[in-house]
Structure formats: C-alpha cells, structure tokens
C-alpha cells in the first residue's frame, strides 16, 4: 500500500519532527529532516504492508537523516538551541527540565529512549528500526534511564531495566 505525502505529513509530521529533533537537537535541521524524509518516501517505489509499516520506515529514515545532520558544521549561524527552547510553551514546569535532560544524553541513548517512550516501540521494534541487537537496545535504554534519573531525581521514576 501507499499513502499520499500530504496524508503522511498531516498524520506523522509532528512525530517525525520530534524524533529528528531528539537526535539532532536543532529545529532547522529537524525541519529539513522531515522534508527530506517525506521526499525519500515520495521518490521511493517501496510498497508497504500497512500504515504502521510506513510509519516505522519513515521513523527509520528520519533518524538516519537526523544522525547525518549532526555532522554538518555549516550550521554555525543557526539559531541557538537555548533560544529555541525558551520560545517553546510547556504544559508543566518539569517538562522543560525533562526535555533538557533528554537532549543532554548521548545521541544513541536519545534515539532509543525517544523511540521507546514517545513512539511506544518495543525493544525488538527499536532494534529493527536501528538495525541493531535487542541486547544493545536494552543496554542503551538502561543507561539512558540511569542518566535521566541522575538528572531528574524524583521527577523520573525508577524502572526495571
């Protein structure tokens, strides 16, 4: 099956943007990543089993493109992350702290933690998306949780790793 790009943009645009931002930590790069991800879909002739299959493919492409974006050095003149964060409206005062804490994690931990907590993917699904082993994903999630707990203390509950 295929879906129109406008349909995907409407349904998954914010989700792709958030995943990209979690990786590259730059709003303009995240915006580019969404655009390039949708273009990649448009240019692809791949057939999908379901909308969920499309979503997983888009997430995977977006994460990889966002990783690539982090190596570009020409972003020197970009708007700073702090300015961008200051302009956001958070529902709760702890939300900014949590977002800051996530963005301070090493990249590979950010990817795993975002796919798990925001996209609700299982360890196995994350391993498929990132083309890595389940053990690696479990390890990254465990370490990420510990780092978040260390930063957020009582705002982050202990969980079984």
């Amino acid at each position: 099956m295929r879906q129109s790009v406008s349909h995907l943009a409407e349904h998954w645009g914010d989700s792709l943007y958030r995943a990209a931002f979690a990786v590259c930590r730059n709003p303009q790069d995240a915006e580019d990543v969404v655009q390039e991800t949708l273009l990649a879909y448009y240019r692809s002739d791949k057939q999908f089993d379901s909308e969920e299959h499309i979503r997983a493919w888009l997430i995977r492409v977006a994460v990889n493109k966002a990783k690539n974006a982090t190596i570009c050095f020409w972003r020197r003149n970009r708007r700073s992350l702090e300015d961008y964060m200051d302009a956001l409206t958070f529902e709760d005062s702890g939300d900014r702290e949590l977002l800051d804490a996530v963005l301070r994690l090493p990249e590979k931990y950010r990817v795993a933690i975002h796919l798990f907590y925001y996209e609700d993917y299982s360890v196995r699904e994350i391993a498929d998306i990132l083309d890595t082993g389940e053990g690696t994903v479990k390890s990254r999630l465990s370490r990420a949780r510990k780092l978040l707990k260390a930063q957020l203390t009582e705002e982050w509950d202990d969980e079984q790793s």
């Binding site: 943007y17 390039e36 002739d45 690539n68 190596i71 705002e155």
Partner: protein
C-alpha cells in the same frame, strides 16, 4: 504520572512549523531538476561538492582498519589540506575506539570517518561522522568512499560568514564577496565565476543571523 506520560507531554511542546516544509516538499516534487532541492542542507551539499579539489592522493593505513586520504577543502577562501580517515567497521562504519569512548564517557556519537585539519590560527581541528545512503527503492546502505568525501566536502565549509560589525561575506573557492548590501527582500542573487565554472548563487536571509545558500550552474533557484 508515569515516565512515559511525562516524556510525551514534554515532547508535545515541539511542533513542526506550520507545514512550511510540506510546501517545500511539494515544490521539490514539481522540480524538473532534483539536484537543486529546496532543502537547505541538500542545496549546500550539492553546491560544495563542486569545491572538492579534483586530485586526491591516497595513502592506505591498514593498521587503522580503514583508508586515509588527503583532500583539499576551502575554508573561508583559504585552501586547506585535511586528512580523512574512513573506517569500515562491521556495523556500518563504527570505529571500536570511539564506540568505547561513547560507552564509558557519554561522548558524542561514534564516527565512521574522522577529518583532521589545521585552522588559520594553527590549531588542529577535527570532526567526525558517518551515515547511510537511501536508495530510490528505500533500501539503506553504507555510504561509499566517494559519497563520504562528497559529504565531507559539504560539511566543514562555512560559506557565509557574518563579521562582528555585521558584514556578510560569501565564500567560494578563494573568492570572498561582501554581499551585505546586495539583499533585496531578504534575498541576494549573484553570479560568481572560478576558472571555467560559473555558478548562480541565491542567499536567503532567514533571520537570527542564519543564511541559506543554494547554487546552480543553470540559473538562480526559485
């Protein structure tokens, strides 16, 4: 409230900006020439790919598990020799040494290639990164060496520089063009020639000191 609920609530503060990127996608779909994508990064990468000096000398460093090459890059009008080490690890180019550092100290993501050069102040600078290419059918594969180098050529060159006194300079090869007073409605268009090569530059002032540069050999971007 669970960690998951807190996490989702925090990230829901982020929104893709007003579907501007969707408009850009639609524009790109309608283009005749894909190589001049509206995407900022893609445009710059296409542009700077032309800056890579033609002849690359290669020296193999098997003890590093990869290939080492010397390339010439242009930084702000200055030709600079840079050393590139491309790693070819089993999992798509991750070097074990950087992986270990990442695991133990939380340093940035592991690298598939490392670029080292000396800047104008005599200080050694280094950057590292890696990536995959997406085939037209959606299948991913590790970047080839040529693609690494092309990507590399697009990475470090900061084409537009804003000085402390607000002057805006566009760099291309050894050309430094002051474009401060050449913007009309936030867009500057100019043609530069280097040797036999002529490019049409479009520089867009995006505010907050950010500039988007695109260039094409067959005319200005839309």
């Amino acid at each position: 409230m669970s960690n998951r609920e807190k996490y989702k609530r925090a990230f829901q503060a982020l929104h893709a900006p007003n579907n501007e990127w969707l408009e850009a996608v639609n524009m790109d779909m309608n283009r005749k020439h894909e190589r001049f994508s509206f995407s900022r990064r893609a445009a710059v990468a296409v542009m700077i790919a032309a800056l890579l000096v033609g002849s690359l000398t290669a020296a193999y460093a098997t003890d590093l598990g990869g290939v080492r090459q010397m390339v010439t890059l242009w930084f702000h009008g200055r030709a600079t020799d840079a050393q590139v080490e491309v790693y070819t690890g089993e999992d798509g180019g991750v070097d074990a040494e950087y992986q270990a550092e990442d695991d133990e100290e939380g340093s940035p993501a592991p690298a598939s290639y490392v670029v080292t050069w000396t800047d104008e102040n005599g200080e050694e600078r280094q950057m590292m990164g890696g990536g995959v290419a997406l085939e037209p059918n959606g299948v991913e594969r590790p970047l080839t060496m040529d693609e690494y180098l092309e990507d590399l050529a697009g990475s470090p060159a900061e084409m537009v520089e804003v000085s402390e006194d607000g002057r805006v300079t566009l760099y291309w090869y050894d050309i430094a063009e002051d474009i401060t007073d050449r913007f009309e409605d936030g867009v500057c268009r100019l043609t530069l020639t280097h040797g036999d090569e002529t490019l049409y530059f479009t520089v867009m002032d995006e505010g907050d000191g950010a500039y988007n540069v695109s260039a094409a050999a067959d005319g200005y971007a839309d």
